[in-house]
C-alpha cells in the first residue's frame, strides 16, 4: 500500500494519541469524535465517488440504519451494544446490497435521484414506524459501549474508540485501493465500457464498493447512537446526505485522506462560526463556494499540487 501511506497512517496515529493531551477539554474532544464518525462515512463515500465515479445522495440513510438498528436492538431488546453494532452492519449491508443491483445500473443524475429517493423513504420509515423508532419524537437511554466491565462514558473514551476504528477502516480501504480490486475500480471511473471489454466485471465491483461504503456508514451510525444515547430522525435526512457529499468534494474525492480532511473541515468550521451568530450560514456558504471554485479537486489535491510545485 505504499510507503507514503504507511507513513501518513503512523503520523495520523501519533496525532490522534497526542491530541487529547493538548485538548483536555471535553468540548473539543466531542467535536473530534464527530469528525471521526463522519470520517468513517466519507472514507466509504470517497471509495464510491472518487474511485468508481458513482454518486450517492442517500448515505445519511445508511448512517441512520446503522444508528437505529443498533439503538433499537440494544435499548428495546437488551442486546449488547457490540452485537447490535454488528447486527446494524448486516442489516445495512443487506439493504444496500438489495438496492445496489438495480440502482447501480442507473447513470449520473438518475443514480443520484434513486439514492435520494431511497434515503428519503428510509427517513419516512424512521418517522412512521413509531412503535420501534419512537417516531419523530425519537427515543433515548441507549446504553453505552462496555469493554469487559469498563463502561465507555466520557468523550475521551469515545474519542479513542472512534479513531481506532477510523484507522482500521483506513487500513482496509488503502489495502483495497492498492489491490487488484482498486485498479478495477479506477478503470470503472475511467470508462466503464473499456473496463468491461478488458474483462473487469464492473457490475460486481460497483455493488461491492456500494455495500462497503454502506457498511462504513452503518458502523458510524452505531457509534453515533451509543455516543449520543438519543435518536430521532432529523440527523439522518436529505440535508445530511448532501453535507456528506460536500465533505467528500471539499476534501477531494480522489483520495481517502481528502475525504477525512473534508469531514474535519465541515465539522469544525461551524464550531468556529458559532461566534458569528446568524451570519454563520453566510460565511459557511461562502467558504464552501470559494473552495469549490478555486480548488475544484478539493483541498487535499490542491495542497499536494502546491507542495509539488514549490519543489
Amino acid at each position: 500500500m505504499g510507503r507514503k501511506n504507511i507513513l501518513s497512517l503512523l503520523i495520523l496515529a501519533g496525532v490522534i494519541l497526542a491530541l487529547p493531551l493538548g485538548l483536555g477539554n471535553s468540548y473539543y474532544l466531542n467535536v473530534l469524535v464527530f469528525v471521526g464518525i463522519y470520517s468513517l462515512i466519507t472514507i466509504g463515500l470517497s471509495l464510491l465517488m472518487g474511485y468508481t465515479g458513482q454518486i450517492s445522495l442517500g448515505h445519511a440513510a445508511f448512517f441512520g440504519l446503522g444508528a437505529y438498528t443498533s439503538g433499537v436492538l440494544s435499548t428495546k431488546f437488551g442486546v449488547s451494544p457490540w452485537l447490535a453494532l454488528l447486527a446494524g452492519i448486516f442489516v445495512t449491508g443487506g439493504i444496500a446490497f438489495l438496492i445496489a443491483a438495480p440502482a447501480l445500473k442507473l447513470k449520473g443524475h438518475y443514480l443520484a435521484m434513486a439514492t435520494l429517493a431511497f434515503g428519503y423513504i428510509v427517513f419516512i420509515v424512521f418517522n412512521q414506524a413509531s412503535s420501534l423508532t419512537g417516531g419523530p419524537s425519537g427515543f433515548g437511554q441507549i446504553p453505552r459501549f462496555r469493554l469487559g466491565n469498563f463502561l465507555l462514558r466520557s468523550d475521551v473514551h469515545y474519542y479513542y474508540l472512534v479513531w481506532t476504528l477510523v484507522i482500521v477502516v483506513l487500513l482496509v480501504s488503502l489495502n483495497i485501493i492498492h489491490s487488484r480490486v482498486g485498479r478495477a475500480l479506477r478503470s470503472i471511473h475511467e470508462g466503464e465500457l473499456t473496463a468491461n471489454i478488458m474483462g473487469v466485471n464492473t457490475a460486481k465491483y460497483k455493488i461491492q464498493v456500494f455495500v462497503l461504503s454502506a457498511v462504513y456508514a452503518s458502523l458510524a451510525g452505531s457509534l453515533y447512537a451509543h455516543f449520543i444515547t438519543f435518536l430521532n430522525p432529523t440527523p439522518f435526512g436529505f440535508h445530511f446526505s448532501i453535507v456528506l457529499v460536500a465533505m467528500v468534494a471539499v476534501g477531494g474525492m480522489a483520495s481517502v485522506w481528502g475525504a477525512m480532511i473534508g469531514a474535519a473541515l465541515l465539522t469544525i468550521l461551524p464550531e468556529y462560526l458559532r461566534a458569528f451568530q446568524d451570519y454563520d450560514i453566510l460565511i459557511y456558504g461562502s467558504i464552501l463556494l470559494l473552495i469549490m471554485m478555486f480548488l475544484p479537486q478539493g483541498l487535499f489535491a490542491g495542497i499536494l499540487r502546491l507542495i509539488k510545485k514549490e519543489r
Partner: protein, 297 residues
C-alpha cells in the same frame, strides 16, 4: 361525502400539488438541458420569487401585475449574476464540483433571504379571490387554475423557444454535445448564462404563483427542490412535457396515498413508484436514453 366526491377531491388535490411540483421541475430541466448540472439551488429561486413578490406587494405596495413581472425580473438577474460569479469562471469543472457549488449558493440565497425578509412564514393573497370553485361536490381554488394556466403557457413558450428559435436550438445543441456546439460557432458560455437566467425566471414564476396556496418562508426552497428534482427525473430529465405529466402523477399518487392508504407514508408511496420506474426505465418516463447516458461523475 360520498366515495365518488372524495375521489374527485383527491384528484383535485393531486392536481394542485402536482402543478406546484411540475412548475419547480421545469426550472430544473432548462439548466439540465443546456449544461447537465443539477441545480440544487433551484428551490431557492422558487423561494426568492415568492418572497420577493410578497415584499413588493405587501411592503412596497406595488400593484400585483407590476410586482409579478418585477419579481421575475429581479430573480432572473440573480440567476444570471450567480452564473457569472460562480459558474462562468470555472474551467472544465466536474459535475460533482458543480453540484456542491449550487449547494453553497443555495445556502447563501437562504441566508440572504433570512436577513432581508426575516424568518416568518408569509402568505400572498390569491390572484382572483379565495372563494373555492365547487365541481360535483369537490372544490378547487381559483389559484390552482392560475397555476395550471401559467404552467401551460410556460411549457408552450418553452416548446416554441427550443423548437423554433435559433437561440433555443443553440441551447439544445450545447446539451447534446458541447464541443460540437462550440465548433459550429455557438457561444457555449453565453448559452449557459442564458439557461441559468431562464430557469431562475421560471423558478421565480413558480414561487409567485404557489405562495398563495403553499405559503413561503426562507427555509422552504430545499424541500421544493427535492420534489421538483424527483418530478424532473421521473418525467425524464430535459423533457418539459414529461415534467408536467410526472408532476401530476406524483401529486395524484401523494393525494390518493394520503386518502386511501396512510398520510404518513404518502411521500414514500410516491417515491417507491419513482424508484420502480427508474429501475424499469432508467431514463424516466419521457426521457431519451442517450441523454441519460452521457452525464457522468
Amino acid at each position: 361525502m360520498s366515495l365518488g366526491d372524495q375521489l374527485l377531491q383527491y384528484l383535485f388535490t393531486g392536481i394542485t400539488i402536482g402543478a406546484i411540483y411540475g412548475m419547480v421541475a421545469l426550472g430544473f430541466n432548462i439548466i439540465y438541458s443546456a449544461t447537465g448540472i443539477i441545480n440544487l439551488a433551484q428551490g431557492e429561486f422558487v423561494m426568492l420569487g415568492g418572497m420577493m413578490m410578497v415584499y413588493l406587494t405587501a411592503i412596497i405596495k406595488l400593484p400585483m401585475v407590476v410586482s409579478f413581472f418585477l419579481s421575475i425580473l429581479i430573480v432572473t438577474a440573480i440567476g444570471a449574476a450567480f452564473e457569472r460569479a460562480a459558474i462562468h469562471p470555472l474551467k472544465s469543472p466536474s459535475v460533482i464540483t458543480l453540484i456542491i457549488i449550487t449547494v453553497a449558493a443555495s445556502i447563501l440565497f437562504k441566508g440572504g433571504a433570512m436577513f432581508a425578509w426575516g424568518k416568518h412564514t408569509v402568505s400572498l393573497s390569491p390572484f382572483s379571490g379565495e372563494e373555492p370553485i365547487s365541481v360535483l361536490g369537490a372544490t378547487i381554488l381559483p389559484q390552482t387554475l392560475w397555476i395550471l394556466g401559467i404552467m401551460a403557457a410556460t411549457v408552450a413558450l418553452l416548446i416554441l423557444f427550443f423548437g423554433f428559435t435559433l437561440t433555443g436550438k443553440a441551447m439544445r445543441a450545447c446539451a447534446a454535445n458541447r464541443t460540437a456546439a462550440s465548433l459550429v460557432g455557438i457561444n457555449v458560455k453565453t448559452m449557459v448564462l442564458l439557461s441559468f437566467a431562464l430557469s431562475a425566471g421560471i423558478g421565480a414564476t413558480a414561487g409567485i404563483i404557489i405562495t398563495p396556496i403553499a405559503l413561503m418562508n426562507y427555509d422552504r426552497g430545499t424541500m421544493l427542490a427535492v420534489k421538483g428534482f424527483s418530478v424532473a427525473v421521473l418525467g425524464g430529465l430535459g423533457s418539459n412535457v414529461g415534467a408536467v405529466v410526472a408532476g401530476f402523477i406524483i401529486g395524484i399518487m401523494e393525494s390518493l396515498g394520503a386518502g386511501f392508504i396512510s398520510s404518513g407514508y404518502k411521500d414514500a408511496i410516491a417515491l417507491v413508484v419513482l424508484l420502480l420506474v427508474l429501475f424499469l426505465k432508467p431514463s424516466g418516463l419521457l426521457g431519451s436514453r442517450e441523454r441519460a447516458e452521457f452525464k457522468k461523475f
